[in-house]
């Protein structure tokens, strides 16, 4: 039997981009790639153009205050081999800036707007960075951060 497509992909990606921090198969039909911020856009373009990840699914972040970092995650799908890739980049909590991925997949616009309001991540070059779900007069900070206290509670 031939290898599952996600394993072939992980090997091909590692040889094409030796600088990715990690690329692994999580389980059947799930792969995960972590990149450094410097290579973020370059690898993303390569994922779209060379590896066929033309179908953007979603995006979101996770907060690790104890390790002083956040991780931005993008979910991508290859319409041919039908497995999900979680494309991740780690950000230090005191410098939450990332070039916008809307330059590669336009549809990440909503998900980056959500990550911006929920986690306070700045997406440089995003064409329309306005709140997505929170009201315009929201003063409660970033709700999905682990140190969020509640609406109206000042830091």
């Amino acid at each position: 039997m031939s290898k599952p497509p996600e394993e072939t992909f992980v090997e091909a990606l590692k040889s094409a981009h030796p600088d990715v921090e990690s690329a692994e198969v999580l389980r059947h039909k799930r792969a995960s790639v972590v990149v450094k911020r410097e290579a973020f856009i370059e690898v993303a373009r390569s994922l779209r153009d060379d590896f066929g990840f033309t179908h953007p699914v979603s995006g979101g972040a996770i907060d690790y205050p104890k390790e002083n970092r956040m991780q931005m995650m993008y979910y991508l799908m290859n319409p041919e081999s039908r497995f999900t890739l979680i494309y991740r980049v780690d950000l230090p909590r005191d410098d939450l800036t990332l070039p916008t991925l809307t330059q590669v997949w336009k549809a990440m616009s909503f998900h980056e707007r959500e990550a911006h309001e929920m986690f306070g991540i700045e997406f440089e070059g995003h064409p329309n960075m306005i709140p997505l779900l929170l009201p315009p007069d929201w003063r409660g900070g970033h709700p999905l951060r682990k140190d969020f206290k509640g609406e109206g509670v000042e830091e």
Binding site: H55, V57, Y75, P79, I130, P143
Partner: protein, 371 residues
């Protein structure tokens, strides 16, 4: 929402959230005469912070707020979360429970699509009757839900390790009877709606979404399949009993509002077949395995995917050894389709009067997109 700048010679119309056809959202339409120049979706009116709520609930408690995301489709949504818990805790599910889950999921898909037709008929402005028909006919499904689970809408019937209760005596026959009734009714719907000249006039060639655009913009569910892309989680990664059930992934090649409606119609046919197949072939055996009520999952992450009535739902759960999930990221299908809706005005010429038809052909559920 901070409103984007209005371009010269463009008028901005605020549509919703009180408009009868808008649902619980607001849409800004920049119009140039009758032509829609730009669509801006203003979401968040029903944002309840479900992702944050789930962080403060044990795995079992979380099933209830999670299911509130789409009331017409609670088994599918609940299954996404329950499947994530099972994978995180390493719980096995008996075969019969998988079949009961698929049965409820397909019945909920019919219920959810019925609601979509009702609204689609309303939005074409000619069939107030169809909305009433669908409301009456869905009672067949809801009665079956009630008999099996005790609830008509929010079932909370799946739990880690299986389902709450076994099928009551004679339930299989009632399922077959219900499916046969539905099939007769759908023959009527097809003639009254899809083959009706007015409905065709309102829906044909409206808001064409080409397959490459549907993929590029991240469409999902009937919107993606209405553009001819055969993508369905039930086939791609069979969960529950879908590996053993006979069904095909429905696609339509016309890519317009009519195609998206037809996909839902034909999917109901598939769901009815599956209901009958499950009633006839359901295997015996236990319906749940013993799973601890307050379990601790070891640190890690799981991503479960299910096909809901509106498309692919992803539940990405992170665990850290505690009794609650550390973080749950919900990849909601309606949010993806709302982005497609925003872009539609750039892809095809849409008139202001077409907007209700277009949005109901997309069928977003705002509590799902806002979470």
């Amino acid at each position: 929402m901070t409103e984007p700048v209005i371009e010269p010679d463009i008028m901005r119309i605020s549509w919703g959230p009180q408009h009868p056809m808008s649902g619980q959202t607001r849409i800004l339409l920049d119009v140039d005469g009758e032509k829609v120049h730009r669509i801006i979706a203003d979401l968040g009116f029903t944002h309840r912070g479900i992702e944050k709520i789930l962080e403060n609930r044990t795995f079992l408690q979380g099933i209830i707020p999670m299911e509130r995301m789409v009331m017409a489709d609670t088994p599918n949504i609940g299954l996404g979360y329950v499947a994530a818990i099972e994978e995180a805790l390493g719980i096995e599910v008996p075969e019969r429970a998988h079949w009961i889950r698929s049965l409820l999921c397909e019945m909920a898909r019919i219920n959810s699509h019925l609601y979509a037709f009702g609204l689609q008929a309303e939005s074409t402005g000619y069939f107030p009757a169809v909305f009433l028909w669908t409301t009456v006919d869905r009672a067949v499904i809801l009665d079956l839900f009630e008999e099996l689970t005790g609830a008509r809408w929010s079932l909370n019937f799946f739990l880690p390790g299986g389902v709450h209760a076994d099928l009551p005596e004679g339930f299989e026959e009632k399922v077959i009877e219900g499916a046969q009734y539905m099939r007769r009714r759908f023959a009527n719907y097809w003639v009254a709606m899809v083959e009706n000249a007015t409905f065709e006039m309102r829906c044909n060639d409206v808001a064409v979404l080409k397959p490459e655009d549907a993929i590029r913009l991240g469409a999902t569910g009937p919107v993606l399949r209405g553009s001819g892309v055969a993508m369905d989680v039930r086939k791609d990664e069979p969960y529950a009993a879908y590996g053993d059930l006979d069904f095909e992934v429905i696609t339509e090649s016309a890519c317009d509002s009519m195609a998206r409606t037809k996909v839902r119609f034909r999917e109901i046919g598939q769901s009815l077949n599956m209901m009958e197949q499950i009633a006839n072939e359901i295997p015996g055996g236990p319906i749940k395995t013993r799973a601890p009520l307050f379990a601790r999952a070891k640190a890690g992450e799981v991503l479960s995917r299910v096909e809901t009535g509106r498309g692919e739902l992803g539940v990405h759960m992170f665990t850290d050894g505690g009794m609650n999930p550390y973080r749950v990221k919900i990849n909601s299908p309606s949010l993806r389709n709302m982005y497609v809706f925003e872009r539609l005005a750039e892809l095809d010429e849409i008139l202001v009067a077409d907007i209700p038809v277009v949005i109901n052909s997309i069928d977003p559920w705002y509590l799902d997109s806002d979470r």
